[in-house]
């Protein structure tokens, strides 16, 4: 890549001074570490849209009571629920050759690492199915005085949890306390009071405003009204002008939704802060995490349902008829076609795929489908010879760069207790500089080497030695990483319309909650399967 292109590339992904600085040095750059693009779904996915009319011979058809489409958390949760209800005559079709969706993980020489979701706030006792799941993973040891399960030490996020890089130094925590003015602190406290007000808020039926899963929270107009404005407008109305407060909220929106403060529904923005706090003034729920992030949960679920799963199968057609539903899929390694005749289908893939798979939807796309928009993300895993060096606040689990459009990195080796030698960092970059279609194109137009250069140039600001210590750098390009809870989406009706079963097809995905959380995916998968089981028994 020549200098000019490189400068344009860096400038388009990183703050201008960083890009200039990255290009300014005279000495030749060391070669990029080896690595590759992980995951092939983009190419396969796009092939889906071009499939011609499909005719299958009789011997290509099989029977299954249920077909689950999608092997992310929702699909796995649905499969687990079916098995536990005694329904084992089902098949789960996953497009990728690895199970887990955005919770999947990778395996390195020293430690496993996440490719997407990497923690779950500890569930409270009310979320029984999740408590039960985590019990199977030996995550808990006893209960606390309130009766909530206590997370065992190895699965709690290791201290220090977070640190922030700002103007050449690392600081503890995510809020930039250093140099905060009296007005900054006053606004910080006022913001906390606003959150606390929502934490203690209850509707006429005693429901919290923001609960996990979100369906157990309130749909009172006082709450749903928040969905009509952006988080930025909500902050403006309350005169929250402090740069560092707005940065923190913007960071949180990018982190959880891949959206800017000015694009995020105020309902979603407040959900992020208020749903994790048990009581006003209390701490957030502790984080449950593993070195490979939520990949640990995926492996656990996959073990339970493995024999029913088919990996690398792209579903081409879902055709509901009088005598059940016909599902046709193609194995992308050899283009083998196969069909299943099922009583029920659990569609556990994102909504945007319905228009390419469900035959009546292909013919007339329902209005709600186009309401579902997704943000694009790049995730990189960087293997280093030594842990990243820093003089100030020591390496934390989550390491955030204040001045970067990326979200910084999470250290898998830190959680594993490996403090010396080879280290693995997982770097997250939500593409939210323009509309999602443009950003998705930019994501896919940027190849491995270009992404590697962006990642290293960004992190070099905090760790100048990084290019010398990087052994490997792999990149995952998530075209549709997260549902975008922009104003009007969560409570505007599309979600509710999309959640309704359609001629024996039940829908299950986190996007039906409007927020891409593990708990939502698990809940959606579980409830869809429960409904299917109930209908099968009638």
């Amino acid at each position: 890549m020549n200098q000019l292109n490189r400068r344009e590339l860096l400038a388009s992904f990183l703050a201008a001074p960083v890009a200039l600085n990255g290009c300014a040095r005279r000495e030749p750059l060391p070669p990029l570490p080896p690595g590759e693009i992980v995951g092939a779904s983009a190419a396969v996915g796009h092939r889906l849209r071009q499939s011609a009319a499909l005719e299958l011979a009789d011997d290509q058809w099989q029977r299954a009571r249920v077909v689950i489409i999608g092997g992310g958390i929702a699909g796995l949760a649905a499969a687990r629920t079916l098995l536990r209800a005694g329904v084992d005559d089902f098949v789960l079709l996953e497009l990728e050759d690895a199970i887990g969706g955005t919770s999947r993980s990778g395996t390195g020489d020293v430690v496993s690492y996440p490719w997407g979701a990497h923690y779950v706030p500890a569930p409270t006792r009310e979320n029984l199915p999740l408590v039960e799941l985590f019990d199977e993973l030996d995550v808990f040891e006893g209960v606390d005085e309130r009766g909530d399960p206590v997370v065992a030490e190895p699965f709690r996020c290791r201290f220090p949890q977070e640190r922030l890089f700002y103007k050449g130094r690392w600081y503890d925590g995510l809020y930039l306390w250093a140099g905060a003015s009296a007005d900054d602190l006053r606004q910080w406290q006022a913001f906390q009071r606003e959150i606390d007000a929502w934490v203690s808020w209850r509707d006429g039926r005693g429901r919290r405003a923001f609960a996990i899963p979100m369906a157990s929270g309130s749909d009172d107009p006082e709450v749903t009204r928040l969905d009509q404005i952006t988080m930025a407008e909500w902050m403006d109305e309350r005169h929250f002008s402090s740069d560092r407060l707005r940065w923190l909220v913007d960071y949180s929106c990018r982190d959880d939704y891949g959206l800017r403060l000015s694009e995020t529904s105020a309902w979603a923005g407040l959900f992020y802060f208020a749903s994790r706090r048990d009581v006003p003034g209390g701490d957030s729920r502790p984080f449950i995490t593993w070195p490979e992030g939520n990949g640990r949960i995926v492996s656990h679920l996959y073990r339970q349902v493995k024999s029913q799963c088919r990996l690398g199968w792209a579903v081409l057609d879902v055709n509901p008829g009088a005598n059940g539903i016909e599902v046709i899929a193609s194995r992308y390694t050899d283009s083998t076609l196969a069909g299943w005749r099922a009583d029920k289908v659990i569609f556990a893939a994102p909504q945007f795929l319905t228009r390419f798979m469900i035959r009546p939807y292909c013919e007339t796309v329902p209005a709600h489908v186009s309401e579902f928009q997704y943000s694009a993300w790049a995730v990189a895993n960087v293997t280093l010879t030594t842990p990243p060096q820093s003089r100030d606040a020591p390496l934390a689990w989550d390491n955030v760069l204040y001045e970067s459009p990326s979200l910084g990195y999470v250290s898998a080796t830190h959680q594993r207790g490996m403090d010396y030698g080879t280290s693995v960092l997982t770097y997250y970059y939500p593409l939210c500089a323009a509309d999602p279609v443009t950003e998705r194109q930019r994501l896919l137009d940027t190849d491995r080497d270009a992404w590697a250069d962006v990642v290293l140039t960004d992190l070099e600001v905090a760790h100048p030695e990084l290019r010398q210590t990087a052994l490997r750098l792999d990149v995952m390009r998530w075209g549709h990483a997260m549902i975008r809870p922009t104003p009007g989406f969560v409570w505007g009706g599309a979600r509710q319309a999309a959640s309704r079963p359609f001629r024996g097809i039940h829908f299950a995905h986190a996007d039906l909650s409007g927020i891409a959380l593990f708990e939502e995916a698990f809940f959606r998968g579980m409830t869809a399967a429960e409904q299917v089981v109930a209908e099968l028994q009638v």
Partner: protein
């Protein structure tokens, strides 16, 4: 300044430098080989005899004694100046060290021995013989006196050994360089070439001085009250050994680990209460303790058949095995066939459960960072319990209950929370102050009432007294130290900060 006087100054500087080089060699030899009487007397002996050899050789210098004088002076500057760095490089290898040591001392001696006769030949026409002898020898002896005083008082405490020898080398070379002007009229041949050599010597020595940080940093030389005799930055930590008049000390990342003067108090207290709490201990695990000193105490027990020593840093266990003063102090414990050394992070190593151990000795550095703090967490102690035999005992160092009272009790409280039964105790270790330990088992037990005979510190009456705590060290409530709060590292920071 008159030519003769400046030449006396030459004599003075040569004598000072010569003596300093000899002192550097003698000091390093006594640190490394022990027995300072023998080392100093052999060094002085070799040096003096080499002076004689040099004086004898001077008669073979036929033409231009002035030129040879300058050349010799530059050679002394380079050899003497680099003597300490050279010997430091040979430090860990005893055989190489002896050759380097006596070779350097002899070489310097020969060169210095050449100088005085040559100088007298240069000056012989300028004055009467009796004046010449009296003045040259006077300046020679005064120079030796000044050198012997400046070396211990001014230079070693401020610059350390490496810089001291390099600084004197530079001084030596400067005087030689200056001599090319003073003696210009008597030097035959190309003077410019001689000056170029002088510049070369100065450049080399200056580079050496700049690079001296790769041996020891200036800050270290000033920080430690005693000379640094070994320093190395491993992948994990900075290891520094300093030597005092009667003993040496080991520091890791600036934190004192032991002083050879009183380490027996520490290591006897760490090891024997746990060993005496178990009948016929056979399998022993030592976590940390890369200095081999805890292993030395464990090896006193004939019942012991196997010791596994897990220490993070291969540089540390290698030093303990190969660095002569340390290998002497630990009785070459790491070479004992019963001892198996594993270089690993104890937190990761301890996850793998094998055959349980009868006694586990924990000798980690104090919890002054998160990487060490994790080795004091409830998680760690729970994993530890799986490695301990049902009737086994743990002996652990838990920092000072006086200077770091909250930290000490945090360790005790955390171990209790992990399910151990403990008896904490404290003993005085002069280098550290009051130091705290604990002996722990799975279930209730009585602390031991006897210790092996012939220990240097512990006896049954000390044992009887050490389990009680004076009022300023009694138990305080603390949080349990966990991986997700690292409470202990915070306590430890606060405890020591309040003392500053």
């Amino acid at each position: 300044m008159n030519r003769t006087v400046t030449l006396y100054l030459n004599v003075f500087v040569i004598a000072t430098c010569g003596l300093v080089y000899e002192l550097v060699a003698g000091t390093l030899a006594s640190y490394l080989l022990g027995d300072s009487v023998t080392q100093f007397s052999t060094c002085i002996g070799v040096y003096l005899s080499a002076l004689g050899v040099g004086a004898w050789l001077s008669k073979y210098v036929q033409k231009s004694p002035a030129r040879t004088f300058i050349e010799v002076e530059l050679a002394v500057a380079v050899l003497g100046g680099f003597s300490a760095p050279l010997l430091f490089l040979c430090f860990a290898k005893l055989a190489v060290f002896s050759v380097a040591l006596y070779g350097t001392v002899f070489g310097i001696g020969v060169l210095v021995g050449l100088e005085l006769p040559l100088l007298m030949r240069i000056l012989k026409d300028a004055m009467e013989f009796k004046d010449l002898i009296s003045r040259v020898l006077t300046f020679d002896y005064i120079g030796a006196l000044i050198g012997s005083l400046l070396f211990p008082i001014l230079f070693v405490p401020n610059l350390g050994l490496v810089r001291t020898s390099l600084v004197f080398g530079i001084l030596n070379a400067l005087v030689g360089f200056w001599g090319t002007w003073i003696l210009e009229s008597t030097i035959s041949g190309n003077v410019q070439l001689l000056r170029a050599r002088g510049v070369l010597a100065l450049v080399l020595l200056t580079i050496g001085l700049i690079k001296a940080d790769s041996f020891t940093t200036l800050a270290e030389d000033q920080l430690f009250s005693e000379p640094v005799v070994y320093a190395k930055t491993s992948s994990y930590q900075r290891i520094v050994v300093t030597q005092g008049p009667s003993g040496f000390s080991l520091t890791l990342n600036g934190a004192l680990q032991f002083s050879s003067l009183d380490e027996y108090r520490y290591h006897e207290s760490l090891v024997h209460p746990a060993m005496m709490s178990v009948v016929e201990p056979r399998r022993v695990l030592i976590l940390g303790g890369g200095d081999g000193l805890a292993a030395r105490e464990v090896l006193r027990y004939d019942s012991v058949t196997a010791i596994t020593l897990v220490d993070l840093d291969p540089a540390m266990t290698q030093l303990s095995a190969e660095f002569p003063p340390l290998a002497r102090l630990n009785h070459r414990s790491l070479f004992d066939p019963r001892v198996h050394v594993v270089n690993a992070d104890a937190m990761l190593w301890i996850e793998e459960v094998g055959e349980p151990y009868d006694v586990i000795i924990i000798d980690f550095p104090d919890p002054n960072n998160f990487a060490l703090g994790k080795l004091y967490t409830r998680r760690f102690y729970r994993l530890l319990r799986r490695q301990l035999h049902d009737a086994g005992a743990v002996g652990i160092q838990c920092t000072s209950p006086l200077f770091a009272r909250t930290s000490f009790w945090c360790v005790i409280n955390t171990m209790e929370d992990a399910g151990f039964r403990l008896h904490p105790y404290q003993v005085p270790v002069p280098s550290f102050g009051v130091w705290g330990f604990a002996v722990a088992k799975h279930g209730d037990f009585e602390p031991p009432s006897r210790v092996p005979d012939n220990l240097l510190f512990l006896n049954s009456s000390v044992l009887a007294a050490m389990f009680s705590f004076p009022n300023d060290m009694t138990r305080v409530e603390t949080e349990v130290n966990r991986l997700d709060n690292q409470a202990l590292v915070h306590y430890y920071d606060d405890d020591w900060r309040s003392l500053r």
